[in-house]
């Protein structure tokens, strides 16, 4: 070899350097072979490694590198051509694989990097979720606390318990040092400390309600942190303590009146209480948001619970009041009933007591009139009689009226003849009208049914009263009575709400008009006419009860009565409308028709006719009783006058008195019987049985008001005809 101008001259391979190279190559090869083994081991261990192909490639690359270096070991000494070829092959292969690997790595390294990014992202997300979980748990706990608190608060309806429980539970849940409630005073100008947790007896501190801190709290529905030094929070003895944070919240006090208006409670009428909560001092605790939320929720619940308690209190008070009122009303009712009963008893007794002497006066005055009297005496006795009659009528009216007002008066319904009713009224009033030279006419509409169902006696009473009044107050002119069937429009004219029912097949409305040309009535006095005891004109000398009673009777008959007048001196018209039934088309009530049966029929039905017989002769008594029983009567036979008066009652229609008894004055008995029955209608007919035919006896009998005289012994036929005459006409004349 020639020496050249190189920097370093080529030197033959030193022994030492050769050795070191040899060793290094050996170790490199070793490393290059062991790395893939390690890689394979680790890859086998991890299942998730995604890039196995890359590893294989990498492994191949390293193996070949190792092979190259291994083969290099043989080139240190002289070597054959084969070794050179193998060496070359290995190097070529290594070059190929390594280039491929390099290319591959370019692809996969970004992916590997992004994996790392994703891992970081997921970690962040996990941390976030953890935080949220923490929050939810906190909220749930808060909710649980609230539910528990609410349950405690709502489990009672007593206001004090509610408030006390609230404070206690809040104190426990939130670990408070002090908890206080300030309520507005009655005036609404101050807040008074009402409840505290630790202080056992709050001493009635008050603070004015217009403090800025209080206004601040009242203006928001959130819990507000306030300074521990504000007057509402200064509840602990000041000292070396570092006071804990204080929070205040408003508690709306709802009143019943808040809910009565359409919109929900208006803010203007709200009253609030103040709840102050203090954390323990020296604890460096802070109010957390969820704790504040808890406090707000509790405050609302307390408001609701308090309103419930208030409503309950009010309803309890109302109920107690009602009970008291009930008791008082019951008491009053019983008193009223007692009073009514006492009045009725009194009236009944007084009436009876009053009637007895009354009838004695009337009877004896009448008898007196039959004797010889001077004209003066006669006038006096007539006046006595008239006054007593008037008084007797008044007494009857009073009893009637009281029974009418009680509602204890019942109409006695029966079938009667309308024509007869009017005819009798006409006959009764006509003489009086004639005496006063008044023109008195009666006109009955042809449409009027012949018979009607109603209370004949009382209808007659009403009619007599009205017509009598017309006659009384008419000095000259005429009186006209007209009766017809009322048409529907005339009913409506009265606008009376009770005349709703339309005339049907079963009943009709009878309309009676009584027109007179008399004194007339002042229009102002018209409403007072039917009131009791009110006299409109000084000339009126009626009892003052007559029209009132008429009105009540007419009302009972579902009718209407009124009097119209144009004014004083212009006459008046009385209109009476009553509801009557029509016989024959509906169920008829019992027919009281005894007088309609013709006399010639065989054995008229006296069946069940209740009579009393007085005769002290046992044989005569038995014979007469047998006679009456044979005719079908229900006979009660007595032997003395006293017994007769005692046993007679309103059911007996006829009394037979033997007047030939020497011991007993039968006339006196007759008078006593008359006295016993005040009403003409209830009185039984009295028949005298006598053996005397002289005129004196007959006169006496007539005078005491006996209805007939029978001469003993009485034959069956005579008795029969006498009885039928008696029942038909109310008297009989004995035919010899």
């Amino acid at each position: 070899m020639e020496l050249c101008n190189c920097i370093e001259p080529p030197w033959p391979a030193g022994e030492l350097l050769m050795k070191y190279q040899y060793i290094s190559d050996f170790f490199i090869a070793l490393a290059y072979f062991s790395i893939p083994l390690e890689l394979i081991y680790f890859v086998k261990k991890s299942a998730v490694f995604p890039y196995r192909w890359v590893l294989v490639q990498f492994g191949a690359f390293i193996v070949l590198c190792g092979a190259t270096h291994l083969i290099n070991l043989w080139t240190f000494t002289l070597h054959t051509k084969t070794v050179a070829v193998v060496m070359t092959t290995a190097k070529v292969l290594t070059a190929a694989v390594s280039c491929a690997t390099a290319l591959m790595l370019v692809h996969i390294i970004p992916d590997l990097l992004s994996v790392k990014t994703r891992e970081l992202f997921l970690k962040n997300k996990a941390a976030e979720l953890d935080r949220e979980m923490g929050l939810i748990r906190t909220q749930e706990e808060t909710g649980r606390h609230v539910r528990m608190l609410t349950h405690e608060i709502r489990s009672t309806l007593d206001r004090h318990t509610i408030l006390k429980t609230t404070l206690v539970e809040l104190g426990r849940t939130l670990g408070l040092e002090e908890c206080a409630l300030w309520m507005p005073t009655r005036t609404g100008l101050e807040l008074q400390l009402s409840y505290t947790l630790r202080h056992q007896n709050p001493v009635g501190f008050t603070v004015p309600i217009q403090l800025p801190v209080i206004n601040q709290v009242f203006n928001t529905n959130r819990a507000v942190k306030i300074s521990p030094n504000s007057p509402v929070a200064r509840l602990r003895p000041a000292g070396k303590y570092m006071p804990g944070e204080v929070v205040a919240v408003r508690v709306p006090l709802l009143h019943l009146s808040n809910f009565q208006i359409h919109d929900w409670p208006e803010l203007s009428t709200r009253r609030y209480a103040l709840m102050v909560l203090m954390l323990p001092s020296d604890s460096a605790r802070q109010w957390h948001v969820h704790e504040l939320e808890l406090v707000e929720v509790v405050a609302d619940q307390v408001a609701v619970a308090l309103s419930h308690a208030a409503i309950l209190e009010e309803s309890m008070k109302a109920r107690d009041l009602l009970m008291e009122q009930n008791v008082a009303l019951d008491h009053a009712r019983r008193e009223a009933e007692t009073a009514v009963r006492a009045r009725n008893d009194f009236l009944a007794v007084m009436n009876h007591e009053m009637r007895t002497p009354m009838h004695a006066i009337i009877a004896l005055s009448s008898l007196l009139l039959e004797t010889e009297l001077t004209p003066e005496q006669r006038l006096m006795v007539e006046t006595v009689l008239k006054s007593s009659n008037l008084l007797s009528t008044l007494i009857n009216d009073v009893l009637d009226l009281s029974r009418l007002e009680d509602g204890s008066l019942k109409l006695e319904i029966g079938t009667f003849s309308l024509h007869t009713l009017f005819r009798e009224t006409y006959n009764l009033i006509k003489p009086i009208a004639s005496v006063k030279k008044l023109n008195f006419t009666l006109s009955l509409s042809p449409e009027l049914p012949e018979f009607a169902i109603g209370d004949e006696k009382r209808l007659m009473q009403v009619l007599l009263n009205v017509v009598g009044n017309a006659v009384k107050f008419t000095k000259e002119g005429s009186i006209s009575v007209s009766a017809f069937v009322a048409k529907l429009d005339s009913l409506r004219e009265f606008r009376a709400p009770d005349l709703i029912s339309i005339p049907s097949d079963n009943h009709f409305y009878l309309r009676i008009e009584v027109k007179d040309t008399g004194l007339g009535i002042n229009p102002q006095d018209l409403p007072k006419l039917f009131m009791k005891f009110v006299q409109s004109q000084p000339t009126k000398n009626s009892s003052g009860l007559g029209l009132a009673i008429c009105k009540r009777f007419v009302n009972l008959m579902e009718g209407h009565i009124c009097i119209e007048s144009e004014g004083l001196g212009k006459g008046s018209t009385a209109i009476v409308i009553v509801k009557l039934g029509i016989p024959g088309r509906s169920n008829e009530s019992k027919l009281s028709f005894v007088h309609k049966v013709p006399r010639n029929q065989v054995k008229p039905a006296f069946s069940g006719l209740k009579v009393v017989l007085m005769d002290d002769n046992s044989v005569g008594r038995m014979v007469t009783k047998g006679l009456l029983v044979h005719l079908g009567c229900d006979v009660l036979a007595v032997g003395s006058g006293d017994e007769c008066v005692r046993v007679i009652n309103h059911e007996h229609k006829v009394v037979f008195l033997d007047v030939s008894m020497p011991d007993v004055n039968s006339f006196e008995v007759a008078v006593r019987i008359h006295e016993k029955f005040s009403k003409r209608m209830d009185r039984p007919l009295i028949v005298a049985l006598t053996g005397n035919t002289d005129r004196m006896t007959k006169e006496n009998c007539r005078r005491v008001g006996m209805n007939g005289v029978l001469l003993k012994p009485v034959s069956v036929d005579k008795m029969r005809s006498a009885l039928s005459d008696l029942l038909e006409k109310g008297f009989f004349v004995e035919s010899k």
Partner: protein, 161 residues
């Protein structure tokens, strides 16, 4: 059959004679009219009561008249009763005697009263006798009629067999 007819005839004759002789009058017929199914023994009952009453009255009258001082009012009262009951029965002659006795009482004629009372008693017993006979006759008649009918029925049924 014949017996019934005979008895009937006897009864009718007897009762007719009573009326003819004035013992009984129209009123007794009226009494009989009052007897019906509901009151089958009416006449007998009334007459029995009349007998009881009358005997008592007669005793009272006798006592009253035999007093030291005769209370004519009392006597009159008794006679009045007697008159009433006898006229209710239809005992005509008794009634007339009572009327006579009353007029003697009014006059306060003691002798007259005594004599009249005797006659009243006499008449009473007469009519009592007659009535009793009448009733016996009636019951006799009734018995016979009953037996006659039962004979008829018996006979009828026997023949049926």
């Amino acid at each position: 059959m014949e017996i019934v007819g005979q008895l009937q005839k006897q009864y009718v004759e007897f009762s007719t004679s009573l009326y003819r002789e004035g013992f009984l009058d129209e009123q007794f017929i009226q009494l009989q009219k009052l007897q019906d199914e509901s009151n089958p023994d009416f006449v007998v009952e009334v007459v029995s009561i009349f007998f009881e009453d009358s005997e008592k009255l007669i005793n009272d009258l006798a006592t009253a008249i035999q007093q030291q001082v005769v209370d004519f009012k009392q006597v009159d009262a008794h006679v009045h009763q007697f008159k009433g009951s006898s006229s209710s029965i239809g005992a005509n002659r008794v009634k007339n005697m009572c009327i006579a006795l009353r007029s003697f009482c009014d006059e306060k004629n003691l002798d007259g009263c005594l004599r009249c009372l005797q006659q009243v008693k006499h008449e009473y017993f007469l009519v009592k006798n007659k009535l009793e006979t009448l009733f016996r006759g009636i019951s006799h008649l009734k018995e016979n009629i009953d037996s006659f009918f039962s004979f008829l029925i018996h006979h009828f049924f026997r023949r049926k067999k």
